[in-house]
Symmetry: C2
Subunit: 229 residues, 2 copies
């Protein structure tokens, strides 16, 4: 059996590989997980002994196929839980992340199946992130492009919003920026500050926030859908 902590390391490496590419340095992982660098060194050592990561000393770490499978399973649990909490327990999408983090390590296969079934096997969670299939094939995490990579006057549809920061999510929800929203960039200021038009409302987003929103170019069928709360 794998500990909660080890699963957290694998999930962290999975996300960092996705967002920043492999290999992941010790101090980056330490910062992400809020532990010290020596702790990461020794933990990564154990993960390597179990064949879950490949590691080159002084270089960094990356997931093996086995490690990725474990990470994908944890991610599946996380995203199913987020979807379930939102759909069936009336949670707000900005509140579900921490609850899912706590529960994701402790649900059985049976629970996973029943939750997926109750939801009708959805393909994405409330933040727009893809829910891995039960066979644990790594999903395509690359949909869309980062909002901060776009320029003025582009009309874009929000595909995904990172689920990691509850405050940020509450703000975005209030601003009407949720998966499915169509917006138009009206201004890109210094330091990456992006101003967007959402259904007539102007919203200014700092670069750090813009980086966590993934968008696609809006097509004609993506008519500026008014969100009903």
């Amino acid at each position: 059996m794998l500990s909660d902590v080890m699963e957290d390391y694998l999930k962290a490496i999975y996300y960092l590989e996705r967002d920043e590419g492999a290999p992941i340095g010790t101090s980056r992982l330490a910062e992400y997980l809020d532990v010290t660098a020596p702790t990461v060194t020794s933990m990564v050592d154990s993960l390597e002994e179990r064949g879950l990561v490949d590691r080159e000393k002084y270089k960094g770490v990356e997931l093996t196929a086995d490690g990725e499978t474990v990470a994908v399973e944890v991610v599946r649990h996380h995203r199913l839980l987020e979807a379930y909490l939102t759909e069936h327990l009336d949670y707000d999408w900005s509140e579900v992340h921490d609850e899912a983090d706590a529960l994701e390590h402790h649900i059985s296969e049976e629970f996973e199946r029943r939750v997926a079934n109750a939801l009708g096997d959805p393909e994405v969670d409330p933040h727009g992130d893809p829910i891995p299939s039960p066979d644990l094939t790594p999903p395509d995490e690359g949909t869309g492009t980062r909002l901060d990579e776009h320029g003025e006057n582009e009309r874009l549809k929000v595909e995904r919003v990172s689920d990691r920061d509850a405050d940020e999510l509450a703000y975005l929800q209030d601003a009407g920026v949720v998966p499915g929203t169509v917006l138009e960039i009206t201004d890109v200021a210094p330091f990456g500050m992006v101003t967007v038009d959402v259904d007539g409302d102007e919203q200014s987003l700092p670069e750090s926030v813009a980086r966590s929103i993934r968008v696609s170019v809006a097509t004609d069928s993506d008519e500026s859908v008014v969100e009903e709360a």
Copy 2:
């Protein structure tokens, strides 16, 4: 913060006090939790330092008011989860115990509230055990009497069935012995074997099983209710 393990010790002491009376001996607790006696000694020591149990060396241990409150909270989580899994995720009552054991330490106050709300604040779980109220007042765990304490020809209503053994529960469910069932004792054989009549079917229950079923004397309004699967 209290560890999962400490919560498990408190819950175990709570149940053992209920069923066997305080104080609880080291080896009884060790057997119940499937650890060795020295492990219990040292753990009980830590619990005492935190003011959660009272302990007298070589005598045994019992919960303080604080310790009981923690235990009752864990029990509330457990029984709410059992009810929720049965009610909303279509689990069978014989399957929910292990799942609830795994999740009970990891749900937030918010989750607890929402689950209770979704269930309409029930008073008992699917096994007939009382669900503690949110203020964590210890519930009355003494409803009913043990089936093995009754004699031939008594007509009894099943109040509660212990949730600890999944095989036993599956057997009882198959036999139609669930909370609410009205049965009549037709025979009490040596070694405590109890034979009961459930809706015309004769069922023989070993003493260990009879001990885990709590019953009350059936009244006229408890008409032999046919269970619909």
